[in-house]
């Protein structure tokens, strides 16, 4: 099949099917209801499960239950809905079950608005729910990349037995771009017999499996958390993904930006190049694990005078950027939050003001 034109939300739904995930639970919320609407037609065609849950809280536990018995599962929502799912996400991470969550972010806090935003960066990378857990977080910048990341998300969730989150802003969900789908994933969730409550008969064993998060013994809970930490450390070694832009030039400023915002920044960087001002960019594709060394190295270039974190939030990722730059250079923030995506002109103006 050649290219077809798809909305981000539809493409995410289709990509999950191609990744062999035939189990989808969700609750409607703008700007991502198209995923549910698309899958309400597509899942019956492929013999999959489509269920509209009664709330996002319930949906997160539907995922937990289904995943705990070895099924490949996913859901999609937007900011307020992800807040509600955060409780379930903590349990799923604690119980080490694979699951994929897609957050098509809208403006907050509270009901906020339905326009694009990146204000859930902290929620996705630093917490959301309670306890010492991490999500593997990926942030697509195009519809094609969203497809590829969804297809990668399931194997990664299963590799680490941990929830994976795709963090897209409303524009990624709503915009249409030509896409090409990779081949169907062949893999099945592996080694699930070792842990999943898929029925003793199913796995031909008389040893029961237990999926749980309660550890009454202090030592045991500490051990459990150390084991989780080891997984997150392994993610930091093996899963960092990022893109570099105009990094060969002798750039005067370095932008760190992701998702939709990074596309605006690319246009801005091209425009500045035309004017004779070189600016480089690191675009994190994984937000956790964060491309720490890439940012540090890019900031170490002699010509570079300032690092600017550009995001559709009031300055969240900038804290990670500061951490990575380790005081080598001044780190600034520029952004807008509430719906208006900064224009290339505004980005140019902001970068110049810091030089």
């Amino acid at each position: 099949m050649g290219k077809i034109l798809m909305k981000g939300n539809e493409a995410i739904g289709e990509a999950a099917i191609r990744a062999g995930c035939l189990n989808y639970f969700a609750y409607p919320i703008t700007p991502q209801s198209e995923v549910a609407e698309y899958l309400s037609r597509r899942m019956p065609e492929v013999g999959g499960v489509f269920l509209q849950g009664e709330s996002e809280v319930a949906v997160s536990y539907m995922l937990f239950g289904a995943s705990a018995c070895g099924a490949r599962v996913f859901t999609t929502s937007s900011s307020p809905g992800i807040s509600l799912m955060s409780e379930g996400i903590s349990y799923i991470a604690g119980a080490q079950c694979p699951a994929v969550f897609v957050n098509i972010m809208r403006g907050g806090p509270g009901l906020g608005g339905i326009l694009p935003s990146q204000a859930d960066y902290f929620q996705a990378t630093k917490g959301g729910g309670h306890g010492d857990y991490r999500l593997l977080v990926m942030a697509p910048a195009s519809v094609q990349e969203a497809v590829e990341m969804v297809m990668l998300a399931f194997p990664l969730a299963e590799k680490y037995r941990n929830p994976v989150m795709l963090l897209g802003d409303g524009l990624i969900g709503q915009m249409m771009e030509p896409v090409e789908f990779p081949d169907h994933l062949k893999s099945e969730p592996t080694n699930k017999d070792e842990w999943a409550t898929n029925g003793m008969d199913t796995r031909g064993s008389n040893k029961r499996n237990l999926v749980k998060t309660l550890f009454l013994d202090a030592g045991k809970l500490n051990e459990h958390n150390l084991m989780l930490k080891a997984k997150y450390d392994r993610m930091k070694r093996e899963e960092i993904r990022y893109e570099l832009y105009n990094i060969e030039s002798d750039y005067k400023a370095l932008i760190v930006s992701y998702g939709t915002m990074s596309r605006v920044c690319k246009t801005a960087i091209d425009n500045m190049k035309d004017e004779g001002l070189e600016v480089g960019m690191v675009r994190p594709q994984t937000l956790f694990p964060f491309p720490e060394n890439a940012v540090y190295e890019a900031a170490s270039k002699e010509s570079c005078k300032v690092v600017v974190s550009i995001e559709m939030s009031m300055g969240q990722m900038v804290e990670d950027v500061e951490r990575c730059v380790k005081g080598k250079l001044p780190v600034k923030w520029y952004g807008k939050c509430g719906g208006d995506v900064p224009t290339p002109e505004e980005v140019v103006e902001a970068v110049k003001s810091f030089l």
Partner: protein, 235 residues
């Protein structure tokens, strides 16, 4: 060949078929031909990329766009302005209704049934064969049926809108044309016109088509791209 359309024209089609882009450019085309033109944005389904985004640019050309009241423009609310019914009752020389996608997007037409009844209208289905669910004639006809059921109106013509946005090739345009010509034969619905993006036009052999061509100057672009000036046609 001129696009010959006036009266009340309702633009329908599957989700993401390009109705809004067609609508905006058709409005400009007809305005340039000297008609008085108004558009109503009835896309209550799609939260972004609606006609309302191009309102100011259209207004500069003297094309009125009826949109929900300002304070609800970006609201997550399916607002049907009562002004729309009035505009159907007293249509301008060309009144364009830009609908939402699929059968769901035209539900609201049924709600406007009283205003529409007894009026002469064109209901045109936009088809982009590079979209899911409309890559076969069968798929297009299924959508046609669903739209007709939901809107309680009959579709009276087809608009060919084959494109992959920026990645469209001349080949794609010809393939798309063959597809909609076939669809027109199979369905008995006339092919009203096909679209070609302005940047591809120089490479296109217009004699290839037996129907009129509508030039598309893309207006609904993401923030990192520039829309093409709508008034370029006037120069």
């Amino acid at each position: 060949m001129e696009i010959d359309l006036d009266g009340i024209v309702i633009i329908v089609g599957n989700y993401g078929s390009g109705k809004t882009e067609v609508c905006i450019n058709l409005a400009v085309n007809r305005k340039m031909a000297g008609l008085e033109v108004r558009i109503a944005d009835l896309d209550l389904v799609n939260p972004y990329f609606r006609t309302r985004e191009a309102k100011t640019r259209l207004a500069e050309l003297g094309i009125e766009v009826v949109v929900p009241p300002k304070q609800y423009m970006q609201a997550d609310l399916p607002i049907l302005s009562p002004v729309v019914a009035g505009m159907i009752r007293q249509p301008s020389q060309l009144t364009l209704l830009d609908m939402g996608g699929n059968d769901v997007g035209v539900n609201v037409l049924a709600a406007l049934g009283d205003a529409l009844s007894g009026r002469k209208i064109h209901v045109l289905q936009v088809v982009n064969p590079f979209r899911p669910f409309t890559d076969t004639a069968e798929g297009c006809l299924k959508i046609r049926n669903e739209i007709e059921m939901a809107s309680r109106l009959s579709i009276s013509g087809i608009i060919g809108n084959a494109n992959l946005i920026d990645e469209t090739t001349v080949e794609d345009i010809y393939t798309g044309y063959d597809f909609v010509s076939g669809l027109s034969k199979e369905s008995g619905l006339p092919l009203k016109f096909v679209t070609v993006a302005a940047e591809l036009m120089p490479e296109i052999d217009i004699k290839h088509f037996t129907c009129p061509v509508l030039l598309i100057e893309r207006q609904l672009v993401p923030p990192w791209k520039r829309s093409i000036s709508l008034a370029s046609k006037m120069k």
